[in-house]
């Protein structure tokens, strides 16, 4: 696994901004699934050459050219197929995508692009002849429809133009121009050097999300009789909500497209039934999908996808071991799956490297309602002392099965942003040193040996640990160990394990004292893309979540204006995105990370060990090793369209 880590050393340093390596196939040499051939022969579909763009995206199969056919069964927990895992496998097509080894941004829906020297203007060339899943052409008009009629529509975007990919600063001055049917130019108010990294990510999804030919009927500017449609649509109050329901955006949850079967998509598979009260939903291949393999076979290889809903992780785990389903996202129970593999279950195993810089981040809420406590939390000596009190080796042994090394939350060694001070400061387990630092904050103790706060009360706080999701399973164990370590240095900690949604409420109400969360932002340039633990003002910057709500201008949550130095740091971070070159971005981010090291916002535990991914052995072309993280697209970086089912 170390080897893989070194491999990623190179990543993103070599990001190529120019499109390369697309092999243009001569017309007439494309192949298609037998399922579609039958439809073509029946006259229900145009031939494959007419369905594909003139220059389809060529995907090199990970292992071998696959076979067509089959129905892949994918298990998910809950009643939202998208979030349960299908979005990552059957959706997520943006203008650009990550190279499979995460070494850079490569063209996807866009065929190529040009960037101006001041990184304010981006010109995208779309694929000529590319089509939506209903056969209608996908052109620059669709993107312009999004920009002009959605983003800049006062009713659909009541807060002014706002999108995940659009910097808040100067959003209103953003412009897009249609050069021709297949060329669009984005002009930003300020330099925006990290825009391309946004494109393959979740944040870039909206740009190619809105089919104009289908959605204009729900838009008041295009359809004067839209009121009739509102009246006949369940759940729609006005044209804005009607539009959101039909489009699954801009403000509606994207993954609601699984509930709208008539909506055209650009994805490899499209839903043909909704989940509703059933336990299964179906998807079928998109006959107009714009990718081919190196031999000209139109992708995806797999004809159908069946989403199987489970109420509980355990039934889903068993179903996978049973062979009832082919793939699940976020499998739990490593020992069980390796046992199953050994005892002949129809499984194969893949390993992934975690993108994260740490297994956990420990946050003390600087804005907590108890002001005396807040002052203590803000004192860096307190956090240094608390960090030295943690026996990280022991946590690694007990909770992380002996995998990983002690570290603070910081970019990985393989990242160009690696910052040794940030990663290694205060990680030594040393009770005396811990006491020395804590004595600077609260030297007095009561008769039970607990430290006293300046106001004479016992130094005691509640550590809220969300523990209802599968990926939070071992957080309580970490919490229980932390309580013991901190008691040993005279700080009383009350562990409070809560359901994740209760924790969400508490974030909004600023009603928590300390908490544990994840450690994203480790690999490559992801610290810039996921700066939550280095820069305050992100949703998961839980050491000051009320600052985030202040920046976001939230109405439903407690907002607290950050102090000037925090605002300055935020500004400094925003400048990282404006740097034109990667070197400049790295240099600017390094400065930000140095400030993060000075401030020591959060305490970390350890670097994550490797992850495992069991899947049905009949799935072909699944990588043996890959990099796993939200910013990387989770499963999408494995290019599920080139998975195939061995017959």
């Amino acid at each position: 696994m170390r080897k893989l880590g070194l491999y990623f050393l190179a990543i993103l340093l070599l990001v190529s901004l120019a499109p390369v390596g697309n092999i243009v196939k001569a017309q007439g040499t494309y192949h298609e699934s037998p399922m579609l051939t039958a439809l073509v022969e029946a006259g229900e579909l145009p031939p494959v050459e007419e369905r594909l763009p003139a220059n389809p995206r060529v995907v090199e199969p990970f292992k071998e050219v696959g076979e067509y056919g089959g129905a892949m069964r994918m298990g998910f927990v809950g009643n939202n197929p998208g979030w349960g895992g299908l979005w990552y496998v059957t959706g997520w097509e943006n203008l650009a995508s990550w190279a499979p080894d995460f070494s850079g941004v490569v063209p996807n829906i866009a065929e190529s692009w040009e960037v101006s020297d001041d990184v304010r203007e981006y010109t995208f060339h779309l694929r000529e002849g590319m089509k939506w899943s209903d056969g209608a052409p996908f052109t620059a008009d669709d993107i312009m429809f999004y920009i002009e009629d959605i983003l800049f529509n006062e009713e659909l975007s009541p807060a002014g133009p706002s999108a995940d990919w659009l910097p808040r600063e100067g959003a209103a001055e953003f412009r897009a121009e249609k050069i021709d049917d297949y060329t669009v130019k984005f002009i930003f108010a300020n330099p925006y050097g990290t825009f391309l990294y946004t494109l393959p990510q979740w944040n870039g999804r909206h740009i190619t999300w809105f089919p104009k030919h289908y959605l204009s009927q729900f838009h008041a500017d295009y359809n004067p009789n839209v009121a009739d449609l509102v009246a006949e649509t369940e759940g729609a109050e006005d044209w804005v909500s009607l539009f959101n329901i039909k489009a699954s955006g801009p403000t509606e949850d994207t993954n609601n497209y699984f509930n709208n079967l008539e909506r055209p998509l650009l994805f490899p598979w499209i839903p043909t039934s909704v989940l509703g009260g059933s336990t299964e939903m179906n998807m079928v291949r998109n006959p107009y999908y714009f990718k081919v393999d190196t031999e000209g076979n139109q992708l995806p290889y797999i004809d159908e996808v069946v989403g199987v809903s489970y109420q509980d992780d355990e039934a889903r785990n068993l179903a996978l071991a049973n062979g009832d389903i082919d793939y699940i996202k976020d499998a739990t129970g490593r020992e069980f799956f390796f046992d199953a593999l050994d005892s002949g279950a129809p499984l194969a195993m893949s390993f992934w490297n975690d993108e994260a810089g740490n297994t956990n981040s420990i946050h003390f809420n600087f804005n907590t309602q108890d002001t005396v406590l807040a002052e203590i939390f803000k004192d860096i000596n307190f956090r240094i002392g608390m960090s030295h009190a943690i026996n990280r080796e022991e946590i690694i042994e007990i909770v992380h099965q002996g995998q990983g090394t002690p570290a603070q939350v910081a970019p990985l060694e393989s990242s160009p942003l690696y910052n040794e001070r940030l990663a290694t400061q205060y990680i030594e387990y040393n009770v005396d040193l811990a006491n020395e630092y804590l004595d600077k904050v609260a030297p007095e103790r009561d008769s039970d040996g607990y430290r006293l706060r300046p106001d004479g009360e016992r130094l005691s706080f509640v550590l809220s640990v969300p523990n209802s999701e599968a990926w939070q399973a071992n957080w309580v164990s970490v919490g229980e160990l932390l309580v013991g370590y901190w008691e040993a240095v005279g700080v009383e900690v009350l562990l409070d394990a809560v359901a994740a949604d209760v924790m969400t409420e508490r974030r909004e109400q600023n009603n928590y004292e300390a908490t544990i969360y994840t450690g994203e932002g480790g690999a490559g340039l992801t610290p810039i893309l996921q700066p939550r633990y280095y820069v305050p003002g992100e949703y998961d910057s839980l050491f000051g979540v009320s600052w985030f709500y202040w920046w976001a201008g939230a109405q439903d949550a407690v907002t607290i204006e950050p102090p000037q130095e925090v605002k300055d740091l935020r500004l400094k971070f925003e400048q990282v995105g404006q740097q034109p070159t990667q070197e400049a971005q790295i240099a600017a981010m390094t400065e930000v990370l140095n400030i993060a090291a000075d401030n020591f916002w959060v305490i970390g535990i350890s670097r994550p060990g490797n992850g495992f991914q069991p899947y049905h052995e009949r799935i072909g072309n699944f990588p043996d090793q890959w990099i796993h993280g939200w910013g990387e697209g989770v499963e999408k970086i494995t290019y599920p369209e080139q998975w195939y089912l061995k017959q």
């Binding site: 109050e237 009260g277 109420q311 039934a315 949604d501 969400t504 909004e508 439903d556």
Partner: protein
């Protein structure tokens, strides 16, 4: 009865709204936790308008009730983006099948064991029968289900998950599908059923023992009535009274037990949907389910009252 159902819906509607936040809060927090870190305040406001969540509770309730009464429209599921009625109707038949099978199972098991252990009080058979009847209630349901599911995987070759094998989930009805269903129903019916047998065995046994002590039994025995006939003719009949009362409460009880078993075994019944709807504050689905289930309960109670009168003429119907 209608009054009762009405009060229940009011209480249910209010209780569902008690937790802070609403569906939009849930949705926004999910979107944000997935990385979409930009939700403008105006947007959440707009979403609330869209779903009618900005109205006061009584207005929301009035709209909901009015639509049910006038159009049979149960409202709109925010999670599933469809008519809540469709959702409820899709899940109810399997729920009804599962719970009624469980009730039958409970009766078949507990009636004979109850009579037997009363008549053979303190015999080794009494102990054995009671022990068997009680072991089910003593095991936590979710664990029982999980372990049986695991054992069926480990030793039966396949884990019995859900109510249908994958070939039959969306297949049209056929004998093979029915057989598949029956096979899958065994484990859930046993788990749900056994958690109620103990209660009924005890009730039956206790009542029968009470009855057997009555003078008329002695009198009958003195007259030389055969023992079997003696027991079954009157004492068992009277002892059945509280048994009959169980019809009414069996339903909500079984539905509650069904929630957990269905979650573990992944059964397509109403329990998991209701549970999720409550957690996600998908109001109309939750309130709709509660309305339907409480209506059934009230009807069940009524039936049990009527049966009580038929079985025991000593009770007058007021």
């Amino acid at each position: 009865m209608i009054l009762t159902v009405w009060i229940i819906t009011v209480i249910a509607f209010v209780v569902i709204q008690i937790p802070p936040g609403d569906y939009v809060t849930n949705m926004v927090s999910e979107m944000m936790s997935q990385g979409s870190d930009r939700i403008d305040p105006a947007v959440t406001q707009q979403l609330r308008d869209q779903y009618g969540l900005n109205d006061p509770v009584y207005v929301q309730y009035y709209k909901w009730m009015k639509n049910i009464v006038t159009e049979g429209n149960f409202g709109y599921s925010l999670t599933f983006r469809r008519d809540a009625r469709v959702l409820i109707l899709e899940r109810l038949p399997m729920t009804f099948l599962l719970t009624s099978s469980s009730v039958l199972f409970v009766w078949f098991v507990s009636l004979p064991i109850g009579v037997f252990s009363a008549v053979k009080q303190y015999s080794i058979w009494d102990y054995i029968a009671t022990f068997i009847g009680f072991i089910g209630v003593a095991t936590p349901n979710f664990l029982f289900a999980l372990i049986l599911m695991y054992l069926s995987y480990r030793y039966g070759g396949r884990a019995l998950i859900g109510l249908f094998s994958k070939e039959y989930v969306n297949a049209p009805w056929s004998w093979a599908r029915v057989a598949d269903l029956l096979k899958h129903m065994i484990i859930p019916v046993i788990i749900i059923g056994t958690s109620y047998t103990a209660g009924l065995i005890r009730t039956m046994r206790a009542n029968l023992l009470d009855e057997l002590k009555r003078p008329y039994v002695d009198a009958a025995r003195a007259k030389g009535l055969p023992e079997t006939r003696l027991i079954w003719k009157y004492p068992v009949r009277y002892a059945l009274n509280p048994f009959v009362s169980t019809i009414g409460w069996a339903l909500p009880g079984l539905v509650a037990g069904e929630v957990i078993v269905s979650i573990v075994l992944n059964l397509p019944t109403s329990g998991p949907v209701l549970f999720e709807a409550l957690k996600e504050q998908d109001m109309y689905v939750a309130a709709g389910f509660i309305l339907v289930l409480s209506t059934l309960t009230v009807i069940g109670t009524f039936i049990s009252d009527v049966l009580l009168v038929i079985l025991d003429p000593r009770i007058r119907l007021e």
